[in-house]
Symmetry: C2
Amino acid sequence: MSDAETRRIVLASRPEGEPRPEDFLLETAPLPEPGPGEILLRTLWLSLDPYMRGRMNAGKSYAKPVEIGAVMEGGTVSVVERSNHDGYRPGEMVLGMTGWQTHAVSDGTGLRKLDPAAAPVQTALGILGMPGMTAYTGLLNIGQPKPVETLVVAAASGAVGATVGQIAKLKGCRTVGIAGGPEKCRFLLDELGFDAAVDHRAPDLPERLAETCPDGIDIYFENVGGEVWNAVFPLLNDFARIPVCGRIANYSDTAPPPGPDRTVQLMGTILTKRLRIQGFIVRDFASQAGDFRRDMSAWLKEGRIRYREDVVEGLERAPEAFMGLLKGRNFGKLLVKVS
Amino acid sequence: MSDAETRRIVLASRPEGEPRPEDFLLETAPLPEPGPGEILLRTLWLSLDPYMRGRMNAGKSYAKPVEIGAVMEGGTVSVVERSNHDGYRPGEMVLGMTGWQTHAVSDGTGLRKLDPAAAPVQTALGILGMPGMTAYTGLLNIGQPKPVETLVVAAASGAVGATVGQIAKLKGCRTVGIAGGPEKCRFLLDELGFDAAVDHRAPDLPERLAETCPDGIDIYFENVGGEVWNAVFPLLNDFARIPVCGRIANYSDTAPPPGPDRTVQLMGTILTKRLRIQGFIVRDFASQAGDFRRDMSAWLKEGRIRYREDVVEGLERAPEAFMGLLKGRNFGKLLVKVS
């Protein structure tokens, strides 16, 4: 790549079902010039997260879709390359939402400066960033973990799930993680301190999960949907809390599944078991960012919370890595090292 | 009836679908004798409530089913006829759960004395009792009404719905009641002060409800399920709260409805709109009984809350009245005047 060029990945077409490589397009353009009061950012790290699948759809959601031809949305850590802005000097590191591209021009809106001495800068996209705060706020506000309760979380080796399980453990819960394959399951037990791990690829997942949760489930942190939800549902205890954070198994559904319609059963069970099912996204709890960063920084320092990163080199590999994320192929927080 | 006899209605068989007259049996028995430390109660009022349909089923729920041959469960107001208990004198009025029968023997467990001078005694089964407290606790704890929000409640001329609508209005909401037929709808507007009323028998219920809720729905107090839920669901606003109190339209379902399975859509919408759907029963909030009675007594005294009773004379008419309740044939809190 020439220094005078920028590369970016734009949405080429809206996927029907699972995204395909041709839904993404790598473009090259002349390096943009920062205007008065603006800075030029060079992307160091790009975060890949499941929510991005939703942005590829046209439908109404909690955020606007990415337009066809527009740069894919994404959180980034960047370095200031040039500055016409009094508040920024070249070499400073910032967290932003500059998307799937090697460079961006910004007037500073929505940026947050990072201190590379405090923590590796890319943790601002993971354990100290959106995924970590998603786990923290959803679990504490809606899940409300209490000692000896059983918590279940799927995608448990991923950025959010791993953090949910570890915070719940700190709060005294018995923690059960669901992950894909024996290597991830071992990681849950040996590295993250989960009390039990269940492989979601097991053909008898409902039976395995039931055996692993002899006292039922008090908190199910929902981030996958699909078959895991079906296995969890009959095991929910009275007064169980279900923070609904994501439904990655259903993001690429093109039609509702066949009947019967289990909505009536779900609503009936919500009543008889007095379940609390509540959706949230991290920005609903924006006012708790200070609490989150204080607590999580302390837990990291004390070695009570661990995290794992899955790093892909090069922007051009972002689409493939993202498609793998939707299939659970990542192992830890998925990051693209852009430059 | 001879003075030496008691009559009671027992569960003769578990209904498949809607209860039929032959599922109930009226029995006569000799008047029971209170033993040492016991009292003989004569039932004055029996409350009929939708939850009783659940007790007729064998399945696990939040309470044990009524056994075949056992007296149907129900809240009652009774007068003490004879007493071998130091704490009770003949002529005193008590609230209890003595069931569908003319007499009961009690050792005092679970009884609460009523002061006939404070309020008509049967209000302890309605506005000042379980239905009123169901409305109060579910709405305030889960619904969390705020000024200018839109609240929708169905069965809005019934014991719970009418109270929900009036408390929400006191809290500053715009209140929309759904009821069956023009007479009940007029009652909502003219007597209970709802801002709008929608007839659930209208063939175009979804369109009518959408017109009536131009700003969407912030709180839906769920006590009916069925077609009303289907009409409400697309109108729910971001951060809507849905206290799930009952599902009367679905209580007699014998099989889940045909597909497609809309569970995935429901869970997806919970996420994107950040809905809170939470089941409850009144005894979950037992600790708030004092607050409830204080607030509701004051509102009644100030004329800010009104109620309507639908009184059926004679225990033998209880089954018919109960079957009518499940079809929405009552108009106000349904009570049986037993003696």
